[in-house]
Symmetry: C2
Subunit: 366 residues, 2 copies
Amino acid sequence: MTPPTETKTPARATTTATTKTTKTPAQATKAVTLLDVATRAGVDRSVVSRVLRDDPRLNIREETRERVLEAVRALDYRPNALARSLRTRRADTYGLLIPDFGNPVYASIIQGAESAAIARDCVLMTGSVGAGAEQAAHHLDVIGRGRVDGLLLAGDHTDRAQLDELDRRGIPWLLVNRRLPRARRWVVLDDEEAAGLAVRHLIGLGHERIAHVAGPRDADTARRRMRGWRTAMRAAGLATPARAVVVSDYTPEGGARATRELLARAERPTAVLVANVAAAIGTLSAAAEAGVRVPEELSVVAVHDLPLAAVLRPALTTVRTPLERLGARAIELLASTAPDAPIEEVVDGELELVERASTAPPAASS
Amino acid sequence: MTPPTETKTPARATTTATTKTTKTPAQATKAVTLLDVATRAGVDRSVVSRVLRDDPRLNIREETRERVLEAVRALDYRPNALARSLRTRRADTYGLLIPDFGNPVYASIIQGAESAAIARDCVLMTGSVGAGAEQAAHHLDVIGRGRVDGLLLAGDHTDRAQLDELDRRGIPWLLVNRRLPRARRWVVLDDEEAAGLAVRHLIGLGHERIAHVAGPRDADTARRRMRGWRTAMRAAGLATPARAVVVSDYTPEGGARATRELLARAERPTAVLVANVAAAIGTLSAAAEAGVRVPEELSVVAVHDLPLAAVLRPALTTVRTPLERLGARAIELLASTAPDAPIEEVVDGELELVERASTAPPAASS
DNA sequence: TTGACCTAGACAAACGATTGTCTTGTGTTA
DNA sequence: TAACACAAGACAATCGTTTGTCTAGGTCAA
């Protein structure tokens, strides 16, 4: 393994771990640097760097290149990311801010973003904002210290002021699954079509009184899904009265509350489109509580498909959305677009109705 | 705002964003550096650094200190984290590897770790490993490039060889919610007691035939929960025959499969302890499928409480575990312990039975 | 034989912060 | 008034890479 020409090789290159270094708190074993490799190969460190980066301006004999690569292998050298980033002014890191790790919808987005980042040889730093603004402040602060090349903002936190702040600091950002008035950088799903698909499924089954448990008023996705519901209903000649809509949030509790309200109303719907799968869990729960059978008395369909939907009782009919692709596309767009160029993209394709047990034709009785 | 002594103040310090810089791809606006601040305050940059870090070896006139701080504020200076880390050899960043973002149990751990990291003024980089080993390899590679001060390993991926590799590279690691034979660095929950608590609850309700849907054979948590089940049963003088146990995994599908198997057996149990809340979803599902009513014919209790448990039908009785504290404690231990010192900690307290609708006394008929 | 021109690398200046060591001026003491 | 101490900062090396520019030696043609 070790070539005869070795001069300054640290003992660390052996395979057995040298764990008995109680002193130093951080890096126990000193890391291998370019200089170590260069010394061993008998060249300048710039040569090593250029060999590794395939710099076309380097002229090198095949024999020397081999020697360099051999030294790299022997020492198990890997470049220090911090030093490189400092020099190149690229962190090869992207940030992703989400409201909450517990939300499975964002879990899918993270997965997609992570894969895309890995594919670009970058890393992803995901932070949750939660309710408290102080956590958001910490993340934005950290990000302002040169640690990321750009920031993905998923969910309904950030406001215009924060975007301005990011602009001022020269940090490219992109809204994910969300739009904001004067912010022309976003990537979203085709929420309107997703809702429409669900409604047409219900209409196809024979439903006419189709209610909508909508998302939060200020959520952009909620507005688009509501529009999809309305458009599909009208296209079929069905009425969309105000009483057919209950505003809720994207949580099981919110969905349950909204559904209770809906079921208490005079003219009960025979089907309901729930704007989000998490809220639909609450809908199933509230229906069971009220003794309303699903799907016999109430068909339920929700936007977003998740593994969870299949194991609920009854198994939930959903519209599958390309959440992972959304996350992946977000990274790609952020990485490949100039920081001040507008990005306005609807991730296409892959919308599909996943029919399970929660939808059925309405009962014969009108 | 701007003092009269200004000499080299960049125009960038004004409030309106200078967004029209289509040229530069990365950092549109050049970042403020120590030198900028120093020049403005009329001192050396070392002075600025020392003022900001409260270096006790710095002697400075109050008046000068004020001038420095004023310049820092005026320019909205924030230190470059990369440069600092390069110099100090501390990244102020910790890594966390989990199997899958979709798993809500890990979501809680992440939340806890994130809060603890923020409290220490660090950042957390969370990566998922998933099924593919190549993603794990990417993460471990990235981590080896000096980007993190330590690594939290949650879940059942990493093997001994990878730990050795980390040791060799001098990267401190800590197993979270898991132990491994020759790895004396872990922090876990009191799984045995959690399982015992659940079993005693069932026994208190009058159950005697209490089955156990266990976790994977090679999962350390699964073994400890099984031991808790067995110990509590025996303490009450109840039998723990092999047929009362079905091994499964921590997914709804696995839980459903195991439960179907269990329900098909000759002597059906009146209650079941499911090792994990996700698997318990499958249990409920399989019971409903088989026409077995919960809790009338089968009581179900699971380890780990999550918001989800409350909205299932029937609402699931669980044992609440301090998952967030587990994550938080992991960061604290990793940050405050020498890299080669052993860490063997069971996060204490906070175990609590959350009684909901899925448990009840057994039916009168034996 | 003297430029001209390659080839194969060497040199050195960044990137932005931290930190050990010097220097300068002022006051104090002997 | 010479020696000294101290206050208040200045200097400069360093962390590990990247990258623009140089140079020593060789080859080739005129």
